[in-house]
């Protein structure tokens, strides 16, 4: 029998995708949305477009999983908590999944 292969590739792919999108887009978004925020009608009009919503959903979901994966390993190695392997994985990926659903709901019902 072959040893079971881990599911790690899936999460690593999410982590990598999120890392790439976050690296490309987040600094710019923080600049224009938090440091020089547009007015209310402007911003609503811009977000209320299905392509923009889809892009935002992808960006938020992958960023969340990027956090979940990387933070999980920070806890294992940085704080030497790898004896809590399963618990930490559940909290990190579970948190990212729950927030992803919330993001989907927020965007679906927007505005």
């Amino acid at each position: 029998m072959r040893p079971k292969r881990s599911r790690e590739p899936f999460f690593w792919a999410m982590f990598s995708g999120g890392g790439m999108l976050a690296a490309l887009f987040l600094p710019a978004l923080v600049l224009v949305l938090w440091f020089a925020p547009p007015s209310y009608p402007e911003l609503v009009g811009k977000v209320d477009h299905s392509l923009v919503k889809l892009a935002l959903f992808g960006l938020i979901m992958l960023s969340l999983f990027h956090w979940g994966h990387r933070f999980r390993y920070t806890l294992y190695d940085g704080l030497q908590l790898s004896h809590l392997y399963g618990l930490i994985a559940t909290i990190c990926y579970g948190g990212a999944t729950a927030l992803t659903f919330l993001a989907g709901y927020l965007l679906w019902t927007f505005p």
């Binding site: 072959r2 040893p3 292969r5 881990s6 790690e8 590739p9 899936f10 690593w12 792919a13 990598s16 390993y73 190695d77 030497q80 790898s82």
Partner: protein
């Protein structure tokens, strides 16, 4: 002795002390001396009981790796006169991550066991008969893996890797680089077998890309890069197996 330099050496003689102690030696200071020359001077002239490993003294055998001033280096390739402004003292310890047997000698059994697990040799499903001659290779094919074949098993990368120190099961940088040395060799057909070992948590996935393994490697093998590349390969394989379950894997 015109000029001298102080070597502070971590001694551990289990029959005498329970914990390692530091011992200082004065050795002559020559511009062309390596750290290993200093150790040999001590062994020949000051204290014959000092234990350490070395063989080729030309950066090929990979046995003289030690922690010098906190950095994992080959002692045969590190000038004494370039350490601490040439004044010393120079601190010499055994490599981190390996249990110390005596003085500067660590137990490397764990590394050897792990190295065997990835089958570091060319695997063929079927060997062609001897009469058909050797397996020829073009320079381009050689270039695919040559970098990884430069590894001399010095284990400096293990010493630099915090994950190996924290997770003793982690198979470690050089072993993964050596697995890639064979995986990327067009003559080899064993990547699936190696994948069973590599695609585990204790294989590539425990690695968080600290990158220090590549920084200390004296042969520019870049094990960190090898691990990242294998992560990409393993991920592609995984998606293939999920999306095309009727395929080979």
């Amino acid at each position: 002795m015109a000029e001298s330099i102080t070597l502070q050496i971590q001694r551990y003689r289990p029959e005498e002390e329970e914990e390692p102690v530091w011992q200082s030696f004065e050795v002559p200071r020559h511009d062309e001396w390596m750290v290993l020359d200093g150790l040999n001077y001590i062994k020949d002239n000051l204290d014959g009981s000092l234990s350490y490993r070395w063989a080729c003294r030309m950066g090929v055998c990979g046995s003289c790796g030690m922690l010098v001033n906190g950095e994992p280096v080959l002692t045969c390739a590190t000038y004494l006169s370039e350490l601490g402004g040439g004044r010393g003292p120079v601190r010499i310890e055994p490599l981190t991550g390996f249990p110390v047997i005596r003085d500067l000698v660590g137990d490397i059994g764990d590394f050897i066991t792990k190295l065997q697990r990835i089958k570091p040799w060319i695997i063929r499903q079927e060997d062609k008969p001897l009469s058909q001659g050797e397996y020829l290779q073009t320079p381009e094919e050689l270039a695919l893996y040559q970098q990884y074949s430069m590894c001399i098993n010095c284990m400096l990368c293990y010493s630099a890797c915090p994950i190996y120190a924290l997770e003793p099961d982690f198979i470690g940088p050089a072993v993964i680089a050596l697995a890639q040395r064979y995986n990327l060799d067009p003559r080899d057909e064993g990547s699936e077998e190696r994948g069973d070992v590599l695609s585990q948590h204790a294989g590539i996935w425990a690695c968080t890309f600290v990158g220090e393994c590549s920084a200390v490697c004296p042969k520019h093998v870049d094990p960190a890069g090898a691990i990242q590349r294998y992560k990409v390969t393993a991920t592609a394989e995984w998606f293939k197996s999920v999306l095309l379950p009727w395929g080979k894997r």
